[in-house]
Symmetry: C2
Subunit: 756 residues, 2 copies
């Protein structure tokens, strides 16, 4: 009965001893069955368990272990570490941050250049087709070409996403957000996901879908960070045998924060915006050194991007305005009385964004059960791609918005039915990537578009982008949302000038387009701080930061009145148990005992292999409290002495051997073993049980492996209080105990879900 306790005390005194690092004859408890096998004894050993080839996915959403498991193995490992090692480890963190920045920028450059080049060829070809065919008056051939050129890339992208890696669909920002919140979303940081995402986003943008490449780039940054920091790839079965000390969820997650920031920095050329994005929207845990490394990764990322794109565009210096990829504004003066207009636009943007979110989430809810087969998803994407071409052609052919050539910012101005020295402004909106159109709306001189053109464009693009976001393709919503906002912002400017002709002196349409874009994007994603910095950095217009900030705050307030931002809406719809910043109001009055899961499956300090196998197979729990026996000798009501994870138990069982010669059960489980298996631990069903060897008498002793000081709370603790603990420390399991430290229940993140 008291053996477990005694063992624990052994450990503890061991932990105490371990301050002196070089004790030559380390004292071992004789009852500890952990021993590193002598090499010559290896032949005698037969595996009790062998791993089957088929690997089974664990339950869908687990928590990451942000909390470091300080078990005896870990403590011993720490004592072996020389003082220099901490410096080395910190240095390699900086080197990894550098690599994250460089590689994220490289991927972003590739995506960028591919999209730019292919789009140029595509729209050049289409323009020729239109020019040739408009003479005969037959516009169906360019339409068919356009549809085809939309269709082919979109089908490729959608097929990849639907058949190869469904998790690469959408922008990826919600997934990254969940990951950084501590949810282990399966497969989101794998190399395969990165490949599908990168190819997918290029094909979608080339295919003319109403989406942008920014969100996916952020996801790409996150995957790159997770990959580089681990020094191995499970997909390629390569283990570089380096960076082993970063193979735990805690370290990996810190790098993913940097990766996401580097992604934003590369996507928008906004290094500060990148950090703020990670801070405001993505990360749940921060500390000063993480801020500095993230900052470094962001700098390096935008720096690399700048160099490469400067070189690509043949500039001899850093003159590439990649930093301002929405076009640099001239200083924009604004008047006092314009501020209420901007704030009103913010409110409009907030409401319009809220409607967009509501429509999109209903549509996606419908889609989730109506369009389930993979081919149907591809078909749907293909349909939307053709729909885009159709709308574009209809608008270009029917609206006769002719403008003189010359101050025209489009690369391929289409003449259509206009005079010889004119181009069709309606067509110009569609004859380029959405990003280029945003730039055009920001910077085209006043009077570049008819009111009708812009109004029709908004009316088409708003539902189109709403339908597009949620297709089985990789696409972000930043650019289409900016586009909608820029269009109605420009429209607003036109109306203001119509109403007060005197105001045309200062009502620059580009200024209103920028405010409209900010308002609409703020209304959809509900970010404020990072968005204003991103807009600042992409337009280079620092003097205009105050109006943008005010607009964004108004957009956020008015949008929040109706619903949540699109990312949170998506996360909620997907059922991922993300922890909010504060506990939901309905939990306010509850105590630990009201929400804890019970009865708890506990294990003894020294536990029979048979029992371990049975609980691993018959439950889905990922953590088991380790207890001293209760008063009645059962596992119920025992006193908490530690916590052991499913993954640890499986690794222990997998790596343990029964030694024939000595009739002693031995284990080769070192801390390296756990690092080698990370992050894809074998499933219990994959362990082949050698029934002969594994009779009831063999048992595993937990004390080397368990976390000897799991966080626990007394059962009367209020939920807001324990939630704070759970969230601040990024816990996976929180054990609920009585005032005598006896296990009463266990709390995991799903216990904080609303429907509880």
């Amino acid at each position: 009965m008291t053996m477990g306790r005694r063992l624990l005390e052994d450990i503890e005194s061991d932990g105490g001893d371990s301050i002196q690092t070089d004790v030559p004859n380390r004292r071992h408890s004789p009852c500890i069955d952990y021993n590193i096998p002598a090499t010559n004894a290896e032949e005698d050993m037969e595996p009790i368990f062998a791993v089957n080839q088929r690997s089974k996915e664990a339950s869908q959403y687990e928590s990451l272990d942000y909390d470091v498991c300080e078990n005896v193995l870990w403590r011993r490992d720490q004592t072996k570490i020389e003082p220099k090692f901490a410096v080395k480890k910190d240095f390699s963190r900086w080197v990894i941050s550098l690599q994250i920045g460089v590689f994220t920028a490289l991927v972003a450059c590739c995506i960028n250049i591919v999209i730019e080049e292919v789009s140029r060829v595509k729209y050049g070809f289409l323009k020729k087709q239109v020019d040739v065919n408009v003479v005969h008056g037959d516009l169906s051939i360019p339409y068919l070409w356009w549809s085809l050129l939309n269709l082919v890339p979109v089908v490729i992208g959608a097929t990849l996403v639907a058949y190869v890696e469904p998790v690469a669909a959408g922008s990826g920002i919600p997934l990254v957000k969940c990951y950084l919140n501590g949810v282990k979303v399966p497969r989101i940081v794998r190399i395969k996901t990165l490949a599908v995402k990168a190819v997918g986003v290029a094909t979608s943008v080339i295919g003319g879908l109403a989406g942008g490449k920014e969100g996916p780039m952020i996801h790409c940054g996150a995957v790159i960070a997770a990959g580089i920091s681990q020094g191995k790839s499970t997909t390629f079965r390569r283990d570089l045998k380096i960076l082993k000390h970063f193979r735990d969820d805690h370290e990996k997650r810190d790098f993913v924060v940097s990766g996401a920031a580097a992604g934003v920095a590369a996507a928008f050329g906004a290094p500060i915006g990148g950090i703020l994005f990670s801070l405001e929207e993505a990360a749940s845990f921060w500390n000063q050194s993480l801020i500095w490394r993230t900052f470094f990764a962001s700098i390096i990322s935008s720096f690399t991007l700048n160099i490469i794109l400067s070189a690509y565009h043949g500039l001899s210096s850093f003159r590439y305005r990649g930093l301002f990829n929405l076009g640099e504004f001239e200083p924009l003066p604004f008047e006092y009385f314009e501020l209420p207009i901007f704030m009103l636009m913010g409110v409009v943007g907030g409401c319009s964004g809220a409607v967009w979110n509501a429509l999109n989430s209903r549509l996606n809810a419908f889609r989730a059960h109506a369009i389930q087969p993979r081919w149907a998803k591809v078909l749907e994407a293909a349909f939307v791609a053709v729909l885009g071409a159709t709308f574009a052609c209809m608008m270009a052919y029917t609206i006769n918005d002719c403008r003189p050539l010359g101050n025209d910012p489009t690369e391929d101005p289409v003449q259509l039915f206009c005079q010889d020295n004119e181009y069709n402004a309606a067509a110009a909106l569609w004859f380029q990537t959405p990003e280029a159109t945003v730039k055009a709306l920001f910077h085209d001189p006043p009077g570049s578009h008819k009111i009708l053109t812009l109004a029709v464009f908004v009316l088409i693009y708003y539902p189109l982008s709403c339908v597009t976001y949620g297709l089985s393709v990789s696409l972000g919503i930043f650019i289409p949302t900016l586009l909608i906002g820029a269009a109605w912002g420009r429209l607003t400017a036109s109306f203001v000038v119509l109403a007060f002709p005197a105001s045309s002196a200062f009502v620059a349409p580009g200024k209103y387009a920028l405010i409209g874009a900010a308002a609409q994007l703020g209304g959809v994603v509900r970010m404020t701080l990072s968005l204003s910095v991103i807009l600042l950095e992409t337009t280079g217009n620092i003097g205009f930061i105050l109006p943008i900030m005010l607009t964004l705050m108004c957009a956020k307030w008015s949008g929040d009145y109706f619903n949540e931002g699109i990312y949170d809406t998506q996360i909620r719809a997907s059922g991922v148990p993300m922890l909010p910043w504060h506990v939901e109001p309905e939990f306010q009055q509850l105590s630990a005992r009201h929400i804890m899961a019970q009865p708890v499956v506990c294990v003894r300090m020294e536990e029979k292999v048979q029992y371990l196998l049975s609980i691993l197979k018959n439950t889905t729990h990922n953590g088991f409290p380790v207890i001293e026996d209760g008063d009645d000798g059962s596992r119920v009501n025992g006193r908490l002495v530690g916590l052991i994870l499913r993954s640890q138990l499986v690794v222990i069982l997998k790596r343990s051997y029964y030694q024939e010669a000595s009739r002693f059960w031995e284990s080769t489980v070192s801390i390296e073993a756990f690092r080698d298996e990370y992050p894809r631990y074998p499933a219990v069903d994959d362990l082949h049980v050698n029934e002969d060897k594994c009779s009831g008498e063999f048992s595993v002793n937990m004390h080397m492996f368990m976390n000897p000081s799991p966080y626990s709370v007394e059962e009367g603790t209020s939920v807001p209080r324990l939630f704070q603990l759970f969230r601040a420390l990024g816990l996976r399991h929180l054990v609920v105990v009585s005032s005598e430290n006896r296990v009463r229940g266990i709390i995991t993140r799903i216990d904080f879900q609303k429907h509880h």
Copy 2:
């Protein structure tokens, strides 16, 4: 023995019941001696304790209670709250943030305008004196005038600081940092401090000391935030009876974060820099809604500043470039090969900053024991003020750096011994506020200064600023450090052009001045992210962000090799127990039992008043674990059931009455009572004990007041692990228990101090 336990269970079931908010006959345990006295019984009551007038300071550095004490009173208060109240509370948080922004900007404007106006008069007068006297060749009169005009304001400021509020000395940033880290630094957020700080900084800058107004403005913002959020002032003995729900350390600290950010926003006109400053340097706790409120306060602050200064400068619109108070740069192109130069300058700045920090901290250590009387401090400040005038005059009179008038950015160009259409560039460096000189060094055309002038200036200003920081005056180090850096940056540009004459095409001295300023400031304060944004926002030069970032990273790395940033150095020297981001390496291998304080003074659930008085008087502990009796009936080895604070005990005792009629001991202590006493709780010596009434039989029952679920850890828990808990949750006390939940020790922030 088991009574305490039974009481606890009563509370807990009470807590459970309290979910139903409107139970008409709330069940009370008969053994609870908490009762609201009937009004007609009041005459019968005599106070057991009365408060003496003299209030004694508590021990010097306590922790703030960031953790909310969820006792029964609090829980009852929560159940009474209507759902609407949460919305109201949140709304008032926003309103307070608005007020923080507005008032911080107002104070900043006042300081700004006073300094600007008085300095204009001062330097105008001095110029006239020089012009008149240079004709006779007698320059001693202007020197004496100058010394006098430096002396008078500095003596006023130093006297205020030395005699009225010594805590207002220096920049205030280290104090704010400590406060936000959770250290209750006495008097730092009082109105008196604000007044002394504001007057002090104006006088110091007017007095020509080598300091800036930025740091103090940040402190002012923090005080304003703390004041506005409380709805009462102890100094003025006014209680507006509003905002009572914000009267705890947690809420107050959140507002102080916003205040500090608003202060930066107002000081530099850098709203984003303000948030990042709070994030990187100041705040230890963050959540999303706090970010947004802080952002809002920053916007409002720079917005208000902009409006007021625009109006003051007679501009009809927001054309005031207050946003770029270091002068807006034209776009600065840079070449590839300049980057290594910038990085090298960063390294130089880092080293030079490290030397500055080392010198300054030694000087201040010497100062701390050599200059203790108040009059000596004033005298010292006066001496340094005259010293500044002396150096300035010596430099102006001896260096004959004549430049043609015309492209001269100084308001009062002094001719001195120059030709009629020339001015003395050496004198120009001194004939204005340091801020204006920084601006001049950034923007003066190439060739505005001789190499000698700049070199001498750096050699004088470097030690001068080092001596100045640490005087008994309110002054920041941002501006003098920028000034030193800008001067040697410009010097570098001159040398580069000398070495490679061909490079004069792109080696703009202003660019190198900016890089030098960034390097020097980065080397002294070791901020990266916030500093680059502040420099970005104050110079409006977003295209130059990459070089600035690289420079700052290099400055930080090289400086960190030698010592800590100046703020951390100061904090360490002052002995304030600030919690670092990570535990010190020497704690790495320790467990809770190695650092905990023991034996612990515990109290029983129902405790005799005599005993409480004795422990309050004879110990300095601020928190006492509440226990069930131990096995032997003593207070040793008891089982932990709660935690009660010294402040709570004192308030309970102060507000308790012995009721003659019923011979029953009654208490009027409600949650309001604690809020009314916050934050200056009476000291125990101030309680007048009525010995007759307070015989041994009377006891206090803790269960209404104690925190029923204090955070505790098992004694084997490793220090890094419990440090994480302590820091992440901002704890004040962490109880160490055995595996049976018996109190073994207690950990507070001083136990993490290095000298332990």
